[in-house]
């Protein structure tokens, strides 16, 4: 078999043309499609990672918010407890003070009533004493004793003048 140079050259040219045509028509578009796909996948991965990160952030924020809400609720409960305790104490103090005032007023009223009764009794007693004394004096004093008493009282008056 004899090697024919033109035939070889023709085959080389022919192969080159086929390679060139395949490269242009098939290889480049496929590479382009693959690159686009790779870019798309990378973007999707990036978006997914971003979404995951945001989800994590949201979760953290939720946890913090929940913790804050719980803390705030606890604080409100504590404040309400303190306020209730203070109010209860104030009510107790007010009631005690009011009770004390009522007792004091009752004591005062009772004392006033007692004094009033005592005064009335003294007045009645003194009236009785005076009435009896007047009667006794009127019955005891005769003319002579009257004159002696006048004389005696005059001496007393003249000593003071």
């Amino acid at each position: 078999m004899e090697i024919q140079l033109p035939q070889i050259i023709f085959q080389i040219i022919n192969f080159s043309v086929v390679v060139g045509a395949l490269t242009y028509l098939l290889y480049k578009p496929i590479i382009k499609i693959l690159e686009e796909r790779a870019t798309k996948i990378a973007k999707a991965e990036e978006a997914a990672a971003k979404s995951l990160s945001e989800a994590d952030k949201i979760e953290v924020t939720k946890k913090v918010a929940k913790k804050d809400a719980e803390k705030q609720a606890q604080q409100i409960i504590e404040e309400a407890k303190i306020t209730a305790k203070k109010q209860a104490e104030q009510i107790r103090i007010d009631a005690k003070s009011e009770g004390k005032d009522i007792i004091e007023k009752m004591k005062k009223d009772w004392q006033q009533e007692q004094n009033k009764q005592l005064k009335m009794m003294r007045e009645e007693f003194s009236k009785a004493v005076i009435t009896v004394s007047e009667k006794v004096m009127n019955e005891t004093l005769n003319q002579k004793k009257h004159l002696e008493l006048i004389d005696q009282e005059l001496d007393s008056i003249f000593k003071s003048i």
């Binding site: 003194s126 005059l154 003048i161």
Partner: protein
């Protein structure tokens, strides 16, 4: 002339009125004595000399006792 009232439960004797006159004239020169009988004074004498009153009657003493009893 100084006006003097002698208030007693019974009519005083002239001797008593003279005694009063002498005692007061020694201090106030001339006096005019007026005797008033008031049985409500019970006993003793109330001597009213001008605007001054010297009430030594039993009625007044009892009144003082009554005031003290009420006050105590």
């Amino acid at each position: 002339m100084l006006s003097v009232q002698v208030i007693t439960a019974i009519k005083p004797t002239q001797e008593i009125l003279t005694k009063i006159k002498k005692k007061l004239e020694a201090k106030y020169q001339q006096v005019k004595i007026e005797s008033i009988v008031d049985p409500s004074v019970i006993g003793g004498v109330n001597l009213v000399v001008g605007s001054d009153s010297f009430d030594n009657t039993i009625k007044n003493k009892l009144k003082k006792i009554q005031t003290l009893l009420i006050k105590e």
